[in-house]
């Protein structure tokens, strides 16, 4: 049994725990024991170490519940980024890392493998009682890894290959910019890595409202999907639906990431060749993204997606192998009293597609043709208190909307007075 360490080898397991602790936080230790009590204790302890006071607990009759509670408006940096900075390594990895960059301390210094080995043994390790031993193959492997990461480069002189470091990049003027984009741009954790670098002044110039930080734990998946899109490639990916026990392995062509500023959810819009369909997938349900063959139809598929998106309110585009589904018509009318022009402004700024029309002195109508009426329902409900007319071509959704409003009246005892 290996000893506990606050560092981890794989991100996938902790990703699931963070989601559970942060999003829900009502599960007791007993429920996690289905997996492993020790694993639960270790992951909880790691998160406590990484997140400090953001980890909370409460005692309930079911036991002790641990949860993550963060008001993202009051924190300077996304605390969940810490999880990305907890990768484990070997004693040899860290020792070799610092020695290599000490020898190759400037781009003009070039060394062959033999020269590096000699300096490592002769200068750096000889003063230790039991010096670590790095053989040629270990060193070559590390050099290759660093060349692939873009940290080192090689030059060939005669028959010999020499290694040197890449040019350094001056980030000293970018503190504020990095602070801002590390919180608002996709894969912002990479900006956080840059802020960690020596010489980059940290900034407390910005704070963030309506700031969803949960998506940051999916940055690995997001970066892999972006890489595939850049290379116009298909990917194979595991999709874990909460309604199914086992993840499904899918081959798909990633076309666009959709990010919600109102729920923090991130979706992948993709083409599924096996079904000749465009579908959306929750990014937080995806894992193990592997690049596959180049997709020659990538540009055409993206163009078609753009056409479909013109009638999408959210993430549902609904083009299956039978072709695009028929559009559904949605319209609702709201009453705007004197001094309530802000309601009209709300309609105009919050509508993503469709039209807003003034129908008489006091009423305004929103109308649109969409693939999925259901996606508009939460937004339409935000106008409750002034909706005077509703017309959906999808009668099932309209009836459900009206039933829900009746259920809300019942919940709060409204209308009873009138009926009594």
């Amino acid at each position: 049994m290996s000893a506990y360490s606050e560092l981890i080898k794989s991100f996938e397991k902790i990703r699931a725990y963070i989601r559970d602790f942060y999003l829900y936080g009502f599960k007791s230790r007993e429920e996690y024991r289905v997996k492993s009590a020790r694993s639960y204790d270790d992951e909880r302890r790691r998160l406590e170490s990484w997140l400090g006071d953001h980890m909370r607990f409460v005692r309930t009759p079911e036991g002790k519940n641990v949860f993550i509670s963060i008001d993202s408006r009051t924190v300077k940096h996304n605390p969940l980024y810490n999880a990305w900075k907890a990768k484990s390594f070997t004693d040899g990895d860290i020792t070799l890392h610092f020695i290599l960059f000490d020898i190759l301390y400037t781009p003009s210094v070039k060394r062959s493998v033999a020269e590096l080995l000699e300096e490592i043994d002769g200068h750096y390790l000889s003063g230790f009682e039991s010096p670590l031993v790095f053989d040629e193959s270990t060193l070559r492997k590390k050099l290759k890894e660093y060349c692939e990461a873009g940290l080192l480069a090689t030059v060939k002189e005669g028959r010999r290959i020499y290694y040197h470091r890449q040019e350094d990049t001056d980030l000293s003027a970018l503190g504020d910019l990095l602070h801002y984009f590390s919180e608002v741009a996709p894969c912002g954790v990479i900006g956080s890595f840059l802020l960690d670098k020596e010489g980059v002044a940290d900034s407390d110039t910005f704070s963030f409202k309506h700031h969803y930080i949960t998506g940051s734990i999916d940055s690995g998946v997001l970066a892999a999907l972006f890489s595939a899109m850049r290379e116009k490639r298909a990917v194979s990916v595991s999709n874990t639906s909460p309604h199914k026990d086992l993840p499904r392995r899918l081959l798909l062509v990633p076309l666009r990431i959709l990010i919600s500023a109102q729920s923090g959810r991130q979706h992948l819009l993709a083409y599924l060749p096996s079904q000749n369909a465009f579908l959306s997938y929750r990014i937080d349900y995806l894992s193990s993204v592997k690049p596959e063959a180049a997709e020659p139809r990538f540009d055409a598929l993206r163009e078609e997606l753009e056409r479909l998106q013109r009638h999408a309110w959210g993430v549902n585009i609904k083009r299956s192998r039978q072709g695009a589904r028929p559009l559904e018509h949605v319209e609702f009318t709201v009453r705007v009293e004197e001094g309530e022009k802000y309601i009209v402004k709300r309609l105009l700024r919050e509508k993503r597609i469709g039209e807003v029309t003034q129908t008489d002195e006091r009423t305004y109508r929103f109308s649109a043709d969409v693939y999925d009426t259901g996606e508009l329902i939460p937004w339409i409900r935000t106008f409750l208190c002034r909706i005077v007319r509703l017309h959906f071509s999808n009668r099932t959704v309209e009836n459900r909307f009206k039933q829900d409003v009746e259920a809300m009246y019942a919940l709060y005892g409204i209308g009873k007075e009138a009926s009594e």
Partner: protein, 303 residues
């Protein structure tokens, strides 16, 4: 690969420790401080012992190091690709900084690769010259802890000149707007950047009061009926608040959310969007706000 030890807190901490040792600073207390500053809560238990014991052969027992140079590391390709992607964002112009040379680097993503599909349509004019100038003036004042003076329309639509000390810029992804939080203004402690005009650093000798509006927090308690995936949708939607959830039974949950009273109206609207699957239990005042809206709706009827 994003998950790599190259970006780890441990590597950064060890780099900071080695820099200090090379600069002649070897006190235990200072090294402990570096661990606390750069690494995690429990790192002190493993990091310094690993260095001191010679497991990581970078520091001798006498706290000297065989290293000759302050540790530095170039940017990885991934870091450059992300920077390149950021350099293509129109909001970069706000900062007025020149980017490092990134020729030949492909961006990690472009505007065609992602879309924030539900942000509001009246976001700030990030590429407008006047807006950029005002953004930089406010940014500069925050850095210098200086005051600014600016014009804006008051509630009656009359243009007035105001003075304050901006403390920070707050960005809302949903509104796609910057506001600045100020000290020294009793009313309107938060000002929309796009609504001000003729903004300049204040050079007069009047001091700005330092009082900052302290948020007044309240707690909202709701009962969620977990149908149509309501529990997950709710917890995601309100993920950015401090909150606590507990299970009542197999299908119902109780959730408490701590919120700034200033955002109450917005919160009422957001709660309504969940329909009958979320019932407000408290505060009574908040519950009455929901009831008031539903009564108005009842009076409207829906045709």
């Amino acid at each position: 690969m994003i998950f790599s030890e190259l970006y780890s807190a441990y590597y950064n901490t060890v780099a900071a420790i080695l820099s200090h040792i090379l600069a002649g600073e070897r006190s235990e207390r200072e090294l402990q401080r570096l661990v606390t500053e750069h690494a995690f809560g429990e790192s002190a238990l493993s990091l310094l012992p690993a260095l001191k014991s010679g497991r990581w052969q970078l520091v001798h027992p006498d706290m000297t190091t065989p290293l000759l140079h302050t540790p530095t590391m170039p940017l990885t390709t991934l870091q450059k690709q992300w920077l390149k992607a950021i350099s293509l964002d129109p909001r970069v112009k706000l900062f007025g900084v020149s980017f490092p040379a990134l020729e030949g680097v492909e961006p990690l993503f472009t505007a065609a690769d992602y879309c924030v599909y539900d942000k509001y349509g009246d976001g700030d004019p990030f590429e407008d010259e006047e807006y950029i100038r005002q953004f930089r003036t406010v940014l500069s004042a925050i850095r210098q802890k200086a005051q600014i003076s600016f014009e804006m329309c008051n509630r009656k639509g009359k243009s007035v000149r105001l003075r304050c000390r901006p403390l920070r810029l707050e960005y809302s992804e949903k509104d796609d707007k910057f506001r600045f939080i100020t000290a020294g203004r009793r009313r309107g402690a938060t000002v929309n950047l796009a609504r001000i005009k003729d903004c300049a650093l204040y050079t007069g000798n009047k001091h700005a009061p330092l009082a900052v509006r302290e948020p007044v927090y309240d707690t909202l308690s709701v009962r969620i009926t977990d149908e149509r995936n309501a529990m997950e949708r709710f917890m995601l939607h309100f993920a950015h608040f401090e909150k606590q959830a507990e299970r009542i039974d197999g299908a119902h949950y109780l959730v408490h959310i701590r919120y700034d009273r200033e955002d109450e109206t917005e919160l009422v609207i957001r709660i309504l969007s969940f329909g009958p699957l979320v019932e407000v239990l408290g505060s009574e005042r908040f519950r009455q706000l929901i009831i008031q809206r539903l009564k108005q709706q009842y009076a409207c009827g829906i045709q």
